[in-house]
Amino acid sequence: MSIHVHRRTHVTIGRGQTLRRRDFLRGVSASALAAGSLSWSDVLASESEPLRKRGMACILLWMQGGPSQFETFSPKPDHENGGETKAIGTSVPGIHIADRFPKVAQVMDHVAVVRSMTSTEGNHQRASFLLHTGYAPTASVKHPAFGSAVSHQIGDVTSQLPSFVRIGQRFVNAGGGGFLGSDYDPFVMAKARELPANAQPTTSTERFRRRLNLLDRLEDHASEEHLRKQIEDHHKLYAKSARMITSAEMRAFDLTREPEPIREAYGEGDFAAGCLLARRLVEAGVTFVEVTVGNWDTHNDVFPRTRELAGQVDQPFAQLIGDLEQRGMLDSTLVVWMGEFGRTPRINPRAGRDHYPKAFNVALAGGGVRGGQIIGETNPAGTQVIDRPVKVPDLFQSFCQSLKIDASTENMSSIGRPIKIVDGGQAVGELFS
């Protein structure tokens, strides 16, 4: 079986496994270079082996609104800018995080925190786009979300499930398939605890297929030339949707199939359910899952509000790491915790903190990331990065390294300009050493 996806040539290996010829050739030359002399069959064997296993995956825990670094992983209890937030010790001696994350503190040996993130985008829309795509928004090029780029590169084409799933209520300017096309748009679920809405055909499967076929027949000879592109996309979308809902893999969405103790371990709330669902989906072959929790935009009352938000996030985040590890999935699953920017060191008159992209933090676990380390540092007031600044492209280069994606891979944008998955920057080497 050979599957043609996104106008690329594929070679077929094994049972329905496909590999893009371009990636394949690159893999061969790299291996050949490394090993000096490898025979073709050796290369095939070495390259096809990892394909039979589940590939790399990524779970992005998106803190919408811009989480305060002081109230999460970069507390400053000794400075007035730190406010009332205390620091607590973790499972790693010498590493302290905000007192709102006691459970994450227990798995700190798996978590690396970058305290020296720095960017210049302080507007929600723009910064959210930047931290979702690696690019600032522009009018001429529709950059794909990183999740779309990842599913384009390493998505499992044999899976009936979408390779990119977003879970949560509202995504502000988070991008989608962009110039990669609607094939790489995320499947969006409002709530993890409910099965995807309308996933059950209202007729027998046979009649459902007959209806789809009728739709195609009618649209085939539509004289609507100006809608041709839309009709094509529509057709692909319907085929994909129909395949998904009639597949056995739909079971992955059903959280009630998860044993009670495990559900309890993740804790309560939408975000907890989202984290559990993320693990189930990755297990079932989804490549990129984004789980969002909103309201981190704490312009007022930052202390009680972050306490409440951390209460939703701490346990599921920690449990997700523990669960992935227990299942032997942590090494192949990168977990990223971040939002669009940080918050001002100064506490404003409304007892809140405003937008601050200049110095903020990101936490990573799994996917080959060495946990139990802090990367970068800000000054005591938290106003600027004084060691190891990490810019957004550096961060995205690091994601690519973890996911074993060549960040310099170029995709053709709709205006005919090749665009790299990540433009510039360097992976943060310490994360992986």
Binding site: E80, N81, G83, T120, G122, N123, R126, A139, K142, P162, G176, G177, S182, D185, P186, V188, M189, P196, A197, N198, A199, P201, T202, R207, F208, R210, R211, L214, L215, L218, E219, H221, A222, E224, H226, L227, R228, K229, Q230, D233, H234, L237, Y238, K240, A242, M244, I245, G294, D297, H299, D301, T344, P345, R346, P349, R350, A351, Y356, P357, T383
Partner: protein, 573 residues
Amino acid sequence: MLSTALSTRGLSRHLAFAIGFFMIACCASMSATVGAERSRERPAPLPRVSEKDVAEVATEIDRLLSEELFGDATEVAEATDDVNFLRRVSLDLIGELPSPESITAFTLDSSPEKRSRATHGLLENRLFGQNWARYWRDVIMYRRNDERALLASTSLVVYLTKQFNQGAPWDKIARELITAKGNILQEGSTGLIAAQWGEVPDTAAEVSRILMGIQIQCAQCHDHPTDRWKREQFHSFAAFFPRIAVRPIRNTNGMRRGFELVSRERQRRRPGQGNARKKKKKPKDNTGPEHYMPDLKEPTARGTLMEPQFFVTGQTLETDISDEQRRERLARWITSRNDPWFAKAFINRIWAELVGEGFYEPVDDLGPDRECSAPGAMDLLAEQFVAHAYDVKWLYATIVQTKAYQRDSKVRRSYEGTPFVANCPQRLRSDQLFNALTTALDIPEPPASRRGRVRRGLQGPRAEIARIFGYDPSNPRDEVIGAIDQALMLMNSPNLDRGMRSTKKTVLGRLLREIDDDESIAMELYLRCLAREPEDAELETCLDYVHEVGDRNEAFEDILWALVNSTEFLYRD
């Protein structure tokens, strides 16, 4: 002081702009002189011109577009046929499909005036106001910074519906949006400011973006990277809003919480102000809040006290005057002819919705250093819109009358393609889609429950469609694309399924009972769903299908399902 130094790029644009004005001024036999010197400082005010009627302006716009954009070799699309015109103009103006009866009547009408008569009728339909009220609700609410702002959604729609239907001029509406106060559940005019929940910089940014198409918020933290705006200009604009606040209120029974938009004339002391403030000078007693521009080098400092100054005209106020005065003055300045962006921002949005592409793209980024694809036509529309005292319905009637509007649709042009050679397919907004579904299937919209009245617009089937199919109308339209959950809803929603069965009370059930002829039923379904008759090949496929299936009811259920699930159903073209 303000620095408005121009980049060379900006300067040449600006000169082109001034020349465009000059050209129009000549056309209109006006003797306006627009000095290049003055235009370097501020945008030229819109000149006073006498009003012209709809037909005259529409003709003039088409002439200007052809002059400015179309070379001899440019292929311009044909005028669209009556049937497509009626579907397009109905969806555009009232957000509804035309009924099968009106399609027939319109096609048979031989009057050359029928398109403008139909336009006029739709503008007088009460659904016109509602359709465009919902459009502006989406414009405002998709960029809300607080979920609670949704509580103002319903009142905003009620307010705007009334204004548009009563023919309220856009400048009056804008002034009310800027100066609004009161319970956000009742005073719909509070919507624009409530959407930013009292945040000063966000409010400034949105007032500028939505009402003027100026993206000055990019200058909040640094001088604008691609435009001429300076940080000082953003923050002195924000200084019009430091005294707004959204506060919780309780009804007299103390039960239900609501929120009101109020003026905050006194500095509030909060325990949470923290140590950071102690070392600073205490604010003087009894003085209201002011806006301070943060010091980038020293974020802990309070920053610079900003005097309110309107960046377009340079008009200023002193600090320490009341919220009401600040917002009222600003509202007057923004809506005066000295601020050409105000008229143009509105025109650009409406034009883009109707013709498929704005003079400026994205629709909310006009200037000053942005390119207008047809400055002559835009200037003419702006002058005439002002001459007609910001008459909203006049603007719609004029645009709909142009050839540019009435052309056949073509695929959205490429980056290098010529603008406005054709109309352009647009995906229905969620309310248009909801209306199309309920009209085609004749499903009544359930009345809002008691609780639903408060949260109306947030729950129920319309809100469900909005959640799945809604999009921010300010985003580039080619980025609005289908998603799996949308396909699933149209394919499998039990509610829609009930409307598509051939049971006793459904449209299909009635048709099947009353009409024996299968061809007529297929015709009727096409008219209801797609507002056109099927082409021969389509009709043949339908009849073949009925034959293949054997069961007439089942076959037509499937055909109706296919029409509702078709691409064409989702677009206005």
